[in-house]
Symmetry: C2
């Protein structure tokens, strides 16, 4: 009968325990947890704070409402969970763990045959003056969520400031904006979601967010937090911001102290190094979840990317391998999806920035369009950016943003990326089609088609960022081929040289344009822009480009009626 | 300058024309269309009839509201579309097409260098007495849709009967049920969606549909339609049904007459045979869309599966190849998705029935669960059935049904199928995760996990259909491990031998069960049923099975509080 000890009882730890029990009905399984709560859906906390989820306990219940507490694990899975118990040291020679009951203070040494480290990660706390004032939170434990929600319900907050615009930061901005308070996000760099969106895609998000109740302050650094006992204001390098609720969301770091002290190898990312079977440098010790590093399947690089979905996969694999299995975990795609108001933002694989940095020869296309036929009620636009290898055609990554269905497109790409798919594959996949769900040529296929057209020299694209640079130039003609009605409603702002010729009139009005000029054609989504390119090139124009994504995906200000 | 003639101006034909124009700005492109409308979104007609789409013209407009008529194609793409013009014969020697203007009666012979046949398919009309009475429709042209909608708006119909329960039949049933009339679907066989759902999945659909306003009459054949000038009733082999609106939806057949008369090879399915480059047996003639046969990517078999999404892919490929390209179309997965009320039904690849018929060694798993964490507002159940190759682990097909998000799961599977993915791949894909969209272990990964557990002998499943057979048996113990509250609300009906032991009490109440008995464990979704199997097997029980999908996916009647 083997003795399995697992340190950490949130996602990876309890999943490993459950799987091990299924594989080995005889094993003795003990899970050590320093907190008082276990198996909580940490990712659900923003939705509890927003008020979408009524009780924090809902995050710790099974779908039929049974609380996943130590009793539950004992009765159903015969797993012993010791809460409020800290693992203080691992003796790898003796194969023991020193544990300490945080309530009674009792210390004990427990033996193991196999050990699992699932100690998770912690939010990074910036070492700034005043950071320990009350009402400055890191959303890392249900107790934080409860305190924030309580304060919101009691109307104790007026001005919330979130530091950081990653996933947690933006989810919290969205959650807090559901309450009648001012919400500001302070961002050190000049874009949101810097880690997983290219600037022109991030620009679409910022534009959307700023039209909502959330203010974004970019390229701005916190200097100190001020207040008596509770925070009252934030001093930045640009201004003083009133703030009675602060969320620190500048990132996480893996909890590796125990592993490090035990002499286990820490990887280049600063997280615990594990092999494909989730084994640490000690063959009797596995590790998984937010405390370990992963491999990015596309780049092959080690990455630190804590994610609940990955932690659950780790747990399942560790559980199998604890019982003699040799199941492998190949890696991740750094896939993300996040909802802000009605906007969905998703990404899988590499961004263009990643591809550039890694030295790939790549090609990209950005396309905008409805997520289903425009005639269907509820059809909403989405913008998709696809990055592919320029010679092999292999997909490298996809980003998608919009009020329409985004997650499906990201997951199609994630599946294709996992299996080494090319842009040709992506175009040809027999995706499910019916008007309530998509157009006969799905948005991902349109993106693949655009990449193919670019590779074949039929589509010459220019990104919104590059086009922005050309706005003040006399030499570049911006050719808007939309209808007069559309042009009345909204127009590119700041063009020095713009021409309005509806596409249907273009063939007969070619003489109004000069064949030698640089022409940037566009429309609402630049499908007509692409038609215009075809017409102009067919007529001998030499330097025509299509502004990818059109006005719909233009991340900068526009002139309006 | 090459001369391209295309017969058919709906999906494949006009897509081929547009793509050819892009590839060859010089070509002369003529499209022949026997009808008066072109480029209409035929798949949108049920939503027009339902009233979701206001005007039938919306189906023929671009997203910015421009009508796609012959003028549009002339002005924008320099493509000549001749409507109300019938192609009456092809002379392959002379490379000419005989055409006839249906308004003027004028006949003409036009030459081609390359010809494209995109003549589509027609609805099958059963040769039954009375089938030509008024108000018996085949939903095949916008004029049918207009007539039906008009009759509905004028309240001329009280009793609608749909013959056939395929995609068109069920979409029409849903559309008509939005109006205040009685809607009945007459089905020759004993299940809906017989072509693409296994019986236990179809049972979930029937149960849902019958709880809505739609009546399903199964295993019933039409004998004749009766009435004076308009239909008044349908005589079946079981009864006389009042019917003042009838929709014939028993399938489609390819329009091959022209191709056949020209001596082109017709394939085993009865549709036009084409090679991978969409070329017919005559190298100067291509064909695509609903009139050609496809290859099923999994089975390698030829299939007739008309679908708007496939027609568009054909069109693009034909367009490239008309201009010297050698682009290949590998095949399809017979993927479908359809919405009935709030239920989504989808399928890709092979069903279990297909796999059995083709002689595969296969394994299946059916799992039920919420489409996102149960604590999130709007979380809805879905049932997923996965079919995999038993030795290689390759995915063969997936079916999904439910009020939750289904299309995404089908498309993930379609992508994995296209690229030869296995169940291990499906479990490990780094799908996008966030509580508004899914659970950390997505439903498709849960299904993959269940197949892996079955392969490893850890999960012994029994389908709802097999379990149904055992209900009257004394020898089989149905073990319901739900809570007493859940059992009060709904219970399996007709069990001869049932025991209620909540999962949390199972370890302490093992003595109430006999180790030699056949035990069928289940709960709401059978996740606790699976836990029960583990507990019982750990305690030495020898014949325990889990009822896959649980009560949630039980396609038969239940006892209710």
């Amino acid at each position: 009968m083997q003795n399995i000890v697992i340190i950490g009882a949130v996602a990876a730890g309890l999943k490993a325990a459950s799987k091990a029990r299924r594989c080995d009905p005889e094993a003795r399984i003990t899970v050590i947890e320093k907190g008082d709560l276990i198996s909580y859906g940490a990712c659900g906390m923003p939705y509890y704070i927003a008020g979408d989820v009524q009780n924090i306990e809902d995050l710790m219940k099974t779908p039929v409402g049974i609380l996943r507490n130590p009793n539950y694990f004992k009765n159903i899975k015969d797993i012993t969970v010791l809460t409020q118990t800290l693992a203080t040291a691992i003796d790898r020679q003796a194969k023991t763990v020193n544990i300490k009951n945080l309530t009674s203070g009792t210390e004990e040494i427990i033996p193991y045959d196999k050990l699992v480290i699932a100690t998770g990660a912690s939010a990074i706390k910036p070492q700034l003056p005043g950071v320990d004032l009350a009402n400055i939170y890191q959303l890392w434990h249900p107790s934080d969520a409860k305190a924030i929600r309580e304060g919101l319900e009691e109307k104790r907050f007026k001005n919330a400031v979130i530091i950081g615009s990653g996933l947690v930061g933006m989810e919290m901005a969205d959650a807090l904006s559901k309450w009648d308070i001012s919400v500001t996000v302070l961002i050190r760099k000049n874009q949101v979601f810097r880690k997983f969106l290219d600037p022109e895609m991030a620009g679409i998000v910022s534009k959307y967010v700023q039209n909502s109740k959330i203010s974004l302050l970019m390229s701005e650094n916190v200097v100190r937090f001020t207040g008596n006992t509770a925070v009252e204001a934030i001093e930045t390098d640009k201004r003083i911001l009133p703030a009675d609720l602060v969320i620190l969301a500048i990132g996480a770091r893996p909890n590796i102290e125990l592993a490090k002290a035990a002499g286990l190898v820490i990887g280049p990312t600063g997280a615990i190094a594990v092999d494909e079977e989730m084994r640490t440098s000690d063959p009797a010790i596995y590790a998984g979840g937010d405390c370990v590093e992963n491999v990015n399947l596309i780049s092959g690089q080690k990455v630190f990317a804590p994610m609940g979905s990955t932690a659950n996969k780790h747990g399942r694999i560790i559980g199998e391998n604890l019982c003699g299995g040799h199941v492998k975990f190949n890696g991740i795609l750094n896939t993300v999806v996040v909802k802000i108001h009605n906007l969905t933002v998703g990404k899988t694989g590499l961004t263009e920035q990643d591809a550039k940095q890694l030295g790939y020869e790549y090609i990209t296309a950005m396309v905008a369009g409805h997520d289903k036929p425009h005639y269907m009620p509820g059809a909403k636009p989405i913008t998709v950016k696809l990055i592919a290898h320029a010679t092999s055609g292999k997909i490298l990554g996809l980003q998608a943003v919009g009020e329409g269905e985004v997650a499906k497109r990201v997951d199609i790409a994630a599946t294709a990326l996992t299996l080494g798919g090319t842009i040709d594959d992506l175009f040809n996949i027999d995706l499910s089609y019916s008007p309530p769900y998509n157009s006969p040529i799905d948005n991902v296929a349109v993106a693949a088609n655009a990449v193919m057209n670019k590779l074949a020299g039929k589509l010459k694209g220019i990104s919104s960022l590059q086009a922005k640079e050309k706005l003040p130039s006399e030499q570049t003609v911006f050719l808007d081929v939309r209808t007069p009605d559309e042009c009345k409603q909204i127009r590119l702002a700041g063009c020095k040289n713009i021409q309005y010729i509806p596409l249907g009139q273009l063939r007969s009005r070619l003489s109004e344009l000069n064949k030698k000029d640089e022409i940037v054609a566009f429309c609402k989504i630049s499908l007509r822009g692409y038609e215009a390119e075809g017409i102009l090139e067919g007529a001998g124009f030499e330097n025509v480009k299509v502004m990818e994504g059109g006005i719909l995906s233009w991340p900068f200000a526009c002139e309006k009626e």
